[in-house]
């Protein structure tokens, strides 16, 4: 198991290098001269040249690549042109908000999606099954920005139950930063009211972000459960007199969970990417919003930084999924 974990971590490092190389290629393939872009439309040729030297853009591509990778290793993601602050610092400041949103959305997806998939499979072709299938199809089909706006209009504007956007009201003093996750920090600081406020803020964006993910978890889990429930060992478990609930919830679920886990890993990366939309709709101060505002002001270093960070989290999530696979399935451990 340790050797397995070690191999997985090595793969992680390799993939990370790949992503870094890919972002480098993309920025250099993209049309436009970054130096001229930075200098602005009214800059003289001299200013462009100065900037080019300053950013190391006058060197050959391989040289630039070495410098770029070297900077990455030392944690230097460059500087934002707009704020003139290190990108790493800014990304680290915005990342917890995004992670908090993604975690809550993912938890929602799993907690609702897995049991609904199970129910749907057990009562296959019954009313419950049909209802969840309609639900899951709409989950995959609804565009996030539209769904987000509809939720805002209904629950925030019309009914006034929940706040429209943001993470915390301006007047609320945020709790002392420990993890950066408001829900956790407010609990750690013992401030239940802040916890409650931030929970109310996160509900709508988390629902919007989790809905497609929930739907696909549900569908995969349903399909797998149906297949597993027909397998020989389930027949055997019934014949041996094991209670139906235990068969479904433990014997079958553990087997059905394997493909569902793979889906969860993929959806995690997808969610990180989708935060760009959802954060914009809900004005959520995370890396998605940061990337959008940087991109709009042609500030390309932060965009690369955010890409790398999202890539990193995605790979970590999938490595965890792989490890969970091995933890669940003994056949993988010995292989």
């Amino acid at each position: 198991m340790l050797a397995f974990a070690f191999r997985k971590v090595l793969t992680l490092v390799g993939t990370m290098i790949g992503i870094a190389a890919l972002t480098f290629v993309i920025t250099n393939v993209a049309p436009g001269d970054p130096a001229r872009l930075v200098a602005g439309p009214n800059a003289t040729e001299d200013m462009v040249t100065t900037i080019r030297t300053e950013y190391g853009l006058d060197k050959s591509l391989p040289e630039q690549f070495v410098v770029y990778m070297g900077d990455l290793v030392t944690g230097d993601l460059g500087q934002s042109i707009v704020t003139t602050r290190p990108v790493l610092e800014e990304v680290l400041r915005y990342a917890p908000a995004t992670l908090e949103l993604v975690f809550v959305a993912m938890a929602l997806g799993i907690i609702v999606g897995v049991p609904m998939g199970m129910l749907s499979a057990v009562y296959k072709d019954g009313p419950i099954d049909h209802a969840t299938r309609i639900f899951s199809i709409s989950g995959v089909a609804l565009p996030a920005f539209w769904f987000g706006i509809i939720l805002q209009l209904t629950f925030a504007v019309d009914l006034g139950w929940l706040p429209v956007s943001g993470r915390l009201p301006l007047v609320t003093r945020p709790p002392e930063t420990v993890t950066g996750l408001l829900l956790v920090d407010s609990l750690l600081a013992g401030r239940l009211d802040t916890f409650w406020t931030s929970l109310r803020h996160i509900i709508l964006p988390a629902i919007v972000l989790s809905f497609p993910c929930l739907a696909s978890i549900l569908r995969v889990n349903r399909a797998e459960m149906i297949e597993v429930l027909q397998s020989d060992y389930i027949v055997a478990a019934r014949a041996h007199g094991i209670a139906s609930f235990r068969i479904v919830a433990i014997y079958a679920l553990k087997n059905a969970l394997l493909p569902t886990l793979a889906m969860i890993g993929l959806r995690f990366g997808w969610m990180l990417g989708s935060t760009v939309l959802v954060e914009t709709v809900f004005d959520w101060p995370g890396i998605g919003l940061y990337a959008v505002s940087s991109a709009l002001s042609s500030d390309f270093k932060p965009v690369i930084g955010v890409t790398l960070v999202i890539g990193f989290f995605f790979i970590v999530a999938n490595t965890l999924v792989d490890l969970a696979y091995a933890w669940i399935d003994p056949r993988l451990r010995s292989a």
């Binding site: 397998s231 478990a237 041996h240 007199g241 553990k254 087997n255 669940i328 399935d329």
Partner: protein, 554 residues
């Protein structure tokens, strides 16, 4: 305590399908007395599994009892509500299954699975679940009882770490955990090797005596039934066509189907009236060596670095026109060998010489062209055909890949091939699921001979088929060989089949050849101890031996 333990009367069961109800069981009358072992023989689709599963209340979902009832120990269990079943299932009636791999949950340890069953029984009995340690002790007891070594270690192992025979013993232990009155054994030996089959049957026999069990054993193998059941019933198309003492049925079958079934069982103790007495002398001008393997070896390396030698320094030569048998138990390396001969698996070292040409170094186009001369027929025809392709597509595929024949010509050739395998031309429009197992295997053979190959490698071509179908396919293979001047490498674990059709045979064990020679000589005077053991355990379940044995004891 009086009366039969199980009494099935006028039982009729329908399964509703898209095309209306199918009568799966028709008017079943069957009684099983306490302490008795009853056998039920029948082919796949005869309804025997549905019948015994109904006894346990785990029949097919869309089924409906039309008439009749099943009474267990005086209690009518035909329409028992689910909660009452918990007091019977696994406790008073339990069951063991065909394939011990798929019937154990792969993600739970042996110990967890058995203790769970014990816990379920204790819960159903209503006197609380005992402690983990107590259940562990009981589990280890049970594992010990079924003859498994080192129960304490087994407890924490997973199913994939056990051999087939051990897994079947685990399933038996699980079935015994509730101290059942009635044990239903559904083809308990079918998926096991011959030597292991005999052991498992012995185990069941000894448990019957020790625990005073009543057993219903179902099987398509009448030999296995004869070794343990005094009385048996023969099922055919959802009906019991004959029942009575096993010895009587074997010696004087009354129903036509039973007679056919018995005639089709290959007998290990009879030399075949081989067509192959003259190995195609007239047909092939130069009878010589067609296929040769020299020092063939395959080593698998697992990720953790341990090496497993699946096949080790095999030397063999197959003469043109002969049927060359390869016999051995699962894990003996016979399938690996077969696949290496076709270069479907790369040998680690060694040479393969086909028709005087070394093909072990061939790659790319030459290898691809070579392949048209040697074709493969797989064990399971149900999975060897793509369910989304028509039969015509399946048979025509090698022609499309290997030749430049026009669509029309392929059509014509496919029809001719269907004719050769004695199936109607119209079958080309059908899909695999519309065909029976025997028909599918004929299709696979037609596909294999489409390119007029010289060599066919048949990997257990009849193992997945019913016995009566097996006989047909074997006959057909022999005819085909004479007709098309073919050479066969025939792989099987079934010695009776090998004896029936192979000219020369090699016996494999753990990747090496332990004995080889003329098939008849191997059977008449086996030299190696392993060959003797194989023949002996094969004989145990062979019909003739049992017939004389039970006739002698009567």
């Amino acid at each position: 305590m009086t009366g039969p333990l199980l009494d099935i009367q006028n039982y009729r069961l329908d399964i509703s399908t898209f095309d209306g109800p199918v009568h799966v069981l028709k008017d079943i009358n069957l009684t099983v007395n306490r302490g008795e072992t009853l056998g039920i023989v029948g082919e796949s689709g005869s309804g025997k599994t549905v019948l015994v599963r109904s006894v346990l209340g785990i029949g097919p979902k869309a089924s409906k009892v039309v008439e009749g009832k099943i009474a267990f120990d005086g209690q009518d269990i035909t329409a028992l509500p689910e909660k009452d079943w918990t007091k019977i299932r696994g406790i008073r009636i339990s069951m063991i299954f065909q394939d011990p791999m798929t019937y154990l949950n792969p993600l739970f340890t042996i110990g967890q699975q058995i203790s769970d069953v014990i816990a379920a029984h204790e819960k159903a009995a209503g006197h609380g679940v005992s402690s983990k340690a107590a259940r562990r002790a009981r589990t280890e007891d049970l594992l010990d009882q079924v003859g498994l070594p080192n129960p304490a270690m087994l407890f924490d192992q997973y199913p994939h770490q056990l051999s087939g025979g051990m897994r079947q013993r685990v399933l038996i232990a699980m079935a015994l955990s509730g101290k059942p009155d009635l044990l239903i054994a559904d083809e308990p030996t079918t998926a096991l090797d011959v030597t292991v089959q005999a052991q498992v049957l012995d185990l069941i026999n000894s448990l019957v005596e020790k625990l005073n069990l009543t057993v219903i054993m179902i099987s398509h193998d009448i030999g296995a039934i004869a070794t343990i059941a005094k009385r048996c019933a023969v099922m055919y198309k959802g009906e019991i066509v004959e029942q009575g003492l096993t010895a009587d049925i074997l010696s004087a079958p009354k129903h036509e189907y039973t007679r056919r079934l018995l005639a089709a069982v290959p007998d290990i103790d009879t030399a075949a009236a081989k067509v192959a007495a003259e190995p195609a002398v007239g047909t092939s001008p130069k009878p010589g060596v067609l296929l040769e393997a020299i020092g063939l070896r395959k080593v698998y390396r697992s990720q953790s670095g341990t090496e497993v030698t699946a096949v080790d320094s095999i030397n063999l030569s197959v003469a043109t026109g002969e049927i060359f048998g390869v016999v051995g138990e699962s894990g003996s390396g016979k399938s690996t060998l077969a696949r290496m001969l076709l270069r479907l698996i790369e040998p680690t070292s060694g040479d393969i010489i086909f028709d005087g040409k070394n093909i072990s170094g061939l790659t790319g186009e030459p290898l691809r062209l070579m392949r048209r001369h040697m074709q493969f027929v797989f064990q399971n025809p149900h999975s060897a055909l793509n369910g989304r392709h028509t039969i015509g597509d399946a048979i025509g595929e090698p022609l499309r890949i290997q030749t430049n024949m026009s669509r029309r010509d392929i059509e014509v050739r496919v029809e001719a091939l269907l004719d050769i395998v004695q199936l109607p031309k119209m079958f080309k429009y059908r899909y695999p699921h519309e065909l029976s197992g025997g028909q599918k295997q004929r299709i696979c053979i037609a596909r294999a001979i489409a390119l007029n190959p010289r060599l066919l490698i048949l990997d257990e071509p009849t193992s997945a088929l019913d016995i009566s179908v097996q006989a047909q396919v074997l006959d057909f293979l022999q005819e085909l060989r004479a007709e098309l001047d073919l050479t066969y490498v025939f792989i099987s674990h079934n010695l009776a089949v090998i004896r029936q059709i192979c000219d020369r045979t090699i016996v494999m064990k753990r990747g090496v050849i332990v004995e080889q020679g003329e098939t008849e000589r191997l059977f008449l005077s086996p030299q190696h101890e392993y060959t003797r053991a194989l023949i002996e355990s094969g004989r145990k379940t062979s019909r003739a031996a049992n017939l004389s044995a039970s006739a002698g004891s009567q």
